[in-house]
């Protein structure tokens, strides 16, 4: 089976394997993925929300047959949450339970100093793998199999965390003071996503391949809709995509993403719709537009479009799939 192979043979191989995972990608995306897997460099994916940045990592993991380890970033994320933490409560619990054993060890100690020395001899017990709580980054580095590491929404994390990531991303090693330096057995394929809430530091960018994913052109979006929502009719899929593409042209607070296009298509398929009409649009537009002002704007804009569409359908159904936008 080709999917079990750990690397991509060519750019086309990336495209076909992604297509098998129901992910349609442009050649540019495929090129960057191919380069990343061969140069062993992280990919920094930027782009508007909902264009499939996170999905890319998931699909990449599936296509290579690797496990996906995900680190979701947020404000205040620190090393303890990202790398590892000592299980403090467990350590305490053990000391409580093992009180007798500890007194045994300490038994016969003549001075406080001697007792402390004896305890110090045993402290390895408490700072060992047993009490370490690995977080995504440590898991990624100590994984016995090659994995895909997704660091999602890195722009939400602090800049100090970003600096800390640099060490991990350039050498794929982390140092745990009590255990020493841990080196990755396999260089993980790293995907970082950013919504551009802030600019990433140059140092981080330098270590990554940069990929900007934008909204796809109409033809590609249509392909995606057909693939993901197979139950929808061709004509309706066409209408949905052209309406969404048109809405993206309007100046909105939040433009509809691909995932929202898919939601809308699914909703319409569920309603057994054949064509878009005003009533249907009015009822379902809220699946792609999430602000009242946006909704109103879009409805005004689409009224004209629908009228033309209707006139055309009346004139001759044969041309209904023609693009009437331009």
């Amino acid at each position: 089976m080709p999917t079990s192979e750990a690397t991509f043979a060519s750019i086309d191989d990336v495209i076909t394997r992604f297509a098998a995972q129901k992910y349609i990608c442009s050649r540019r995306i495929a090129t960057v993925v191919y380069l990343a897997s061969h140069l062993e460099k992280p990919i920094l994916v930027e782009g508007p929300a909902g264009v499939g940045k996170t999905e890319l990592a998931k699909v990449l993991a599936n296509a290579l047959g690797h496990e996906l380890i995900r680190l979701q970033c947020y404000e205040g994320l620190d090393e303890a949450k990202a790398l590892y933490e000592w299980e403090y409560a467990k350590q305490l619990l053990y000391t409580q339970i093992l009180k007798d054993k500890i007194s045994e060890v300490l038994g016969g100690a003549m001075s406080l100093k001697e007792a402390v020395d004896r305890i110090a001899l045993e402290d390895d017990v408490f700072f060992s793998d047993r009490f370490i709580l690995p977080r995504p980054l440590l898991r990624a580095i100590s994984a016995p199999e090659p994995i895909v590491l997704l660091i999602d929404e890195i722009d939400k994390a602090d800049s100090e965390f970003e600096a800390f990531l640099l060490e991990v991303l350039s050498d794929f090693q982390v140092s745990v003071p009590e255990l020493g330096t841990l080196r990755a057995r396999h260089i993980p394929l790293v995907v970082l996503t950013s919504n551009n809430a802030r600019e990433m530091s140059d140092a981080l960018k330098r270590r990554c391949l940069h990929l900007y994913i934008d909204f796809p052109p109409a033809a590609q979006e249509l392909e995606i809709v057909r693939l993901k929502v197979p139950q929808i009719s061709t004509a309706l899929a066409d209408e949905v995509v052209s309406v969404v593409q048109r809405i993206r042209q309007i100046d909105l607070k939040k433009t509809p993403s691909i995932s929202e296009t898919l939601d809308w298509a699914k909703a319409l398929a569920l309603l057994n719709a054949e064509h878009l009409d005003e009533a249907l649009l009015h009822d379902t537009l809220s699946t792609i537009l999430k602000y009242e002002g946006d909704l109103r704007k879009a409805q005004d804009e689409l009224k004209e479009y629908l009228q033309r569409q209707q006139a055309q359908r009346a004139a001759g159904p044969a041309h209904s799939d023609k693009d009437v936008l331009h």
Partner: protein, 469 residues
């Protein structure tokens, strides 16, 4: 090819893209890996390794096309212009070129490489020769438009345009004597003449191309720069549109700074008291460790915007700024005034920007056609809203302080300053005119923590920088 990538990288750097050495080497490795067969893959490889900011992508695309296909495209374009000039389609032109080649063989005429490439329309060879000539003439040193002529001349010399012209003249003479069909002869003569002209054009274009490579971003920067310095007063539609974009960007930047600031204060110190209290249930064994949380310092802003006739053009932008500000922070209260004061917080929250500003300026909220009376407006503020000002509030006043010789009531500002965290006045008038005529700026000035002239985007940038610091 390596040399070309090196040159291309330095070109990127010249155009203001930052490409580090490590990235440059990544670019090499990536292109090695992919080979040079697939042009788009080559381009994507260079882009993903060397261009890391999405704003730079457009510049990269432009430069890539200029650098890697500019000359080729120009040579190809010359074929098209040749066909147009001779009024031939592709097949007929090829036919004519073949006929000429055959004729030359018959007459046993040996042509120079250049003439051969030109008359066979060998685009690859032509491109190579142009490139070599450009290198010899050091065209890459070009920096200004007025140098075009000089470099064109140098390049023509490097290519040997003089000898070529003589050679082609000789060729024409030979053809004259060859006893050809007059119609065909005329066509061949035209072709040869035309080719010489084409070559001159190609040289000129090559020089122009070289200039554009160094130049486009410089020009673009220049344009933005000029716009940022321009007064709000004199702006065309197009400029207003671009200004809007800039204000939006500004708002984004403000947001980023605020977000970073908030994150820095994420976790406080170890809280002994709370830790002890929380762990009483475990018999004082500290299972749960507590840290004290720092208070988030949410900025509270109150903006008073003058919308009188004297600042009409500016107030639109000021209101835009106010709108972005209100979008940004949760605790912003906005007011407009001419002689009375009206709150527009609600309005700005509910309506989208264009409609809201329109609404604010139509006179439904306050009478916008009255004569400015800062004193009266301030007194109104003092009476109704002073209680809302506390030690975390930033009060911003946007206005020109032209008071129509009314009472200035500067004591209001004194009160406000005492209660507020800071009081900022942004004046769209030139600093030199403050205090002249009916301007009361001198009286208001001592009560403000920060007074800035704010007539254009650059000044606004500066103010915002200070505001969020």
């Amino acid at each position: 090819m390596d040399a070309k990538i090196v040159e291309f990288t330095s070109l990127l750097r010249q155009n203001g893209l930052r490409v580090s050495l490590a990235e440059h080497m990544d670019g090499f490795r990536a292109t090695r890996l992919l080979g040079l067969v697939d042009r788009t893959a080559f381009k994507d490889a260079l882009r993903s390794t060397m261009v890391k900011r999405s704003v730079d992508v457009a510049a990269f695309d432009e430069l890539f096309d200029l650098y890697f296909s500019g000359l080729g495209a120009s040579v190809k374009a010359s074929t098209t212009s040749l066909m147009a000039a001779l009024q031939l389609d592709e097949a007929a032109l090829q036919h004519l070129l073949d006929a000429l080649a055959e004729l030359l063989e018959q007459l046993d005429i040996q042509l120079s490489d250049l003439a051969h490439a030109l008359l066979r329309n060998d685009t690859g060879q032509l491109e190579k020769q142009l490139r070599e000539a450009a290198a010899t003439a050091q065209v890459e040193g070009i920096q200004r438009t007025f140098q075009e002529g000089r470099y064109s001349h140098a390049m023509a010399q490097a290519m040997g345009l003089g000898p070529l012209a003589a050679e082609l003249d000789a060729l024409k003479a030979r053809l004259d004597d060859a006893g050809l069909d007059p119609a065909q002869l005329a066509q061949l003569q035209r072709l040869i003449e035309r080719r010489l002209q084409d070559l001159t054009d190609m040289i000129k274009r090559a020089v122009r191309l070289e200039l554009e490579k160094r130049d486009p971003s410089v020009r673009e920067n220049q344009r933005l720069h000029n716009l940022a310095d321009k007064n709000f007063y004199y702006l065309s539609e197009e400029e207003i549109r671009r200004m809007k974009e800039a204000v939006a960007k500004l708002a984004q930047r403000l947001k980023n700074v605020v977000a970073i600031r908030r994150r820095q204060a994420k976790r406080g110190k170890f809280d002994v008291k709370d830790t002890l209290r929380k762990n009483l249930q475990y018999g004082g064994v500290p299972f749960k460790i507590r840290f004290d949380r720092r208070m988030k310092d949410k900025p509270q802003v109150m903006v008073l915007c003058d919308v009188s006739d004297s600042v009409r053009n500016v107030s639109r932008f000021m209101l835009q700024f106010v709108y972005s500000l209100q979008d940004l922070y949760s605790r912003v209260r906005s007011f407009i005034f001419v002689s009375e004061l009206g709150e527009i917080t609600q309005l700005f929250e509910e309506q989208e920007i264009g409609a809201a500003i329109e609404h604010a300026l139509t006179g439904n909220i306050i009478n916008v056609f009255a004569h400015s009376d800062f004193g009266r407006a301030f007194r109104g503020f003092h009476r109704d809203y002073l209680s809302a000002v506390n030690n975390r509030t930033t009060v911003i006043i946007l206005g020109d302080a032209r008071n129509n010789y009314n009472l200035p009531h500067e004591w209001v500002l004194k009160d406000v300053q005492r209660r507020a965290k800071q009081l900022i006045w942004l004046n769209p008038e030139n600093r030199l005119t403050w205090g002249f005529g009916d301007s009361e700026m001198d009286r208001y000035l001592p009560h403000c923590d920060l007074v800035e002239e704010c007539r254009n985007l650059n000044q606004l940038y500066r103010v915002i920088d200070r505001l969020v610091r």
